[in-house]
């Protein structure tokens, strides 16, 4: 027994070193899975607070650009006003085949929740964005996040009371299903190769697709995360892959990840219902 203590005493530094290394590697393995992006909500809360202070200072220097973006957004919204359109015929009534929920008789599917970006990075291989809005303000995990001009930014992977962590499109594990605006039947998967911020790769697009440089790529509206018309980016470079039947496409992302400041998280009110339905079908299927 005495020898054991002597051993521990003699090699205490080495043992501490091994212990700390093992702890670090445990942290790496345990917390770096896709949806366990952050894990410790407590650390999230603390770093979120520091980030908020920083972003308040940083905001000041970006006021001009932000003004411009808000202008663009206002313009877009104004163009959607009802008074912009003339009603040609009043004898027809519009019938919607859904259960009425709000006063207009339509069931709400998407809700935009604005949030402020308190921290963001573009230079790492795994970039996360922290939003200054969390579970206490009704954000939930797995909601899609878009910027003020409808550019896709990422997907929420973790929420704490007042902050939420978004896996940016600029993350090695980010995978978003996309369609081509000009050819909605074709689409692929948008990933990030880690090389250059603001440039993404679009994979799995067949050579038969009508794609050319400058085309817009949208997030697929049939997934439960983004409404129709959310832009992933525009095609910057396209060339056929010699070994497969696919194109190799480089996208310029629609969102500018260098100066994100205000974003919208999009909540899908019907996701739960659809998932429940799918579960029901799966469980009742005869074996």
């Amino acid at each position: 027994m005495r020898n054991v203590f002597l051993f521990i005493r003699r090699f205490s530094n080495f043992l501490l070193f091994i212990l700390l290394q093992v702890l670090s590697i445990y942290l790496i393995i345990h917390y770096n899975k896709y949806h366990n992006a952050v894990g410790t909500a407590a650390m999230n809360e603390i770093t979120g607070r520091v980030n908020k202070q920083y972003s308040e200072i940083n905001d000041f220097f970006l006021l001009k650009q932000k003004n411009k973006a808000l202008h663009a957004e206002n313009e877009r919204l104004r163009n959607m006003l009802k008074q912009d359109f003339e009603t040609p015929d009043t004898s027809n009534t519009v019938v919607t085949d859904s259960i009425p929920y709000d006063t207009l008789g339509n069931k709400r599917k998407w809700l935009y929740q604005n949030a402020r970006v308190v921290s963001n990075s573009v230079t790492l291989a795994t970039n996360y964005i922290v939003l200054g809005r969390g579970a206490g303000q009704l954000l939930e995990k797995d909601e899609g996040v878009v910027d003020t001009n409808n550019g896709v930014v990422g997907i929420i992977t973790e929420v704490s009371q007042n902050y939420a962590v978004v896996m940016s499109l600029l993350h090695k594990d980010s995978k978003i299903t996309a369609i081509l605006k000009n050819d909605p039947a074709s689409g692929g998967l948008v990933i990030w190769d880690g090389k250059e911020p603001n440039y993404l790769s679009l994979t799995n697009v067949r050579k038969s697709a009508k794609a050319k440089k400058g085309d817009t790529v949208l997030a697929s509206p049939i997934t439960a995360k983004f409404p129709a018309g959310m832009i992933l980016g525009t095609i910057d470079d396209i060339k056929p892959d010699v070994s497969t039947n696919n194109f190799v496409i480089k996208l310029k992302s629609a969102a500018n990840f260098y100066n994100l400041q205000y974003v919208y998280a999009v909540k899908n009110y019907q996701k739960e219902e659809i998932e429940k339905l799918l579960d029901k079908v799966k469980s009742s299927r005869p074996q």
């Binding site: 205490s12 070193f17 590697i25 942290l27 790496i28 410790t40 990075s121 573009v122 291989a125 250059e196």
Partner: protein, 177 residues
């Protein structure tokens, strides 16, 4: 300023500079500047080895928490904190220099060359371990080698600049009252 206060200020400042300035700079995928572990390079000589490792772990873990990627920097920092005393013993010129000076610097290590060698070896080990752990997750062998070498060069430049900008006054302490 007492050693404790000085080191606390260093810890906070280096983390803030690393996360809010250097991490926002995108030079190239392969060239990643690091400065935060200057805290470990500059730790006092007379600090216990266990404390050095615990402080290094805290430093790495703090940066990891900001980056939402726990573990990587903590592992690299603990490794260099463990190897630091061996390196100092090898490079320090004469017996007793550790007791005459507070912390490693060009002066206390007897010239710029041994000091930059000390900083260089620690930087190389730090980067190698960090990028090796990263390469296990994504990337490959060449990614690891090239990124380690290029990043070490840029980090050493940063350390050299930091050394020139923030000249540390090192008193020569003698025990003859």
């Amino acid at each position: 300023m007492s050693t404790l206060v000085k080191n606390i200020v260093r810890f906070v400042l280096l983390i803030l500079v690393q996360y809010y300035i250097l991490d926002k700079v995108s030079l190239h995928q392969m060239v990643v500047p690091y400065i935060y572990f200057l805290f470990i390079i500059w730790m006092p000589f007379n600090l216990g080895r266990a404390w050095q490792m615990i402080l290094a772990f805290l430093l790495g873990f703090t940066l990891d928490s900001f980056r939402h990627n726990p573990g990587f920097h903590a592992a690299a920092c603990v490794l260099i904190a463990y190897l630091r005393p061996f390196l100092i013993n090898m490079l320090i010129p004469q017996e007793g220099a550790e007791t005459n000076y507070d912390e490693p610097s060009a002066r206390s290590m007897g010239g710029l060359l041994p000091y930059m060698l000390y900083a260089g070896v620690l930087t190389l080990i730090h980067h190698a371990w960090l990028f090796f752990l990263e390469a296990l997750q994504f990337g490959n062998f060449w990614y690891f080698i090239i990124k380690t070498l290029l990043s070490t060069v840029i980090t050493l430049c940063l350390i050299f600049v930091a050394e020139l900008m923030f000249a540390r006054k090192q008193k020569f302490r003698t025990n003859t009252a």
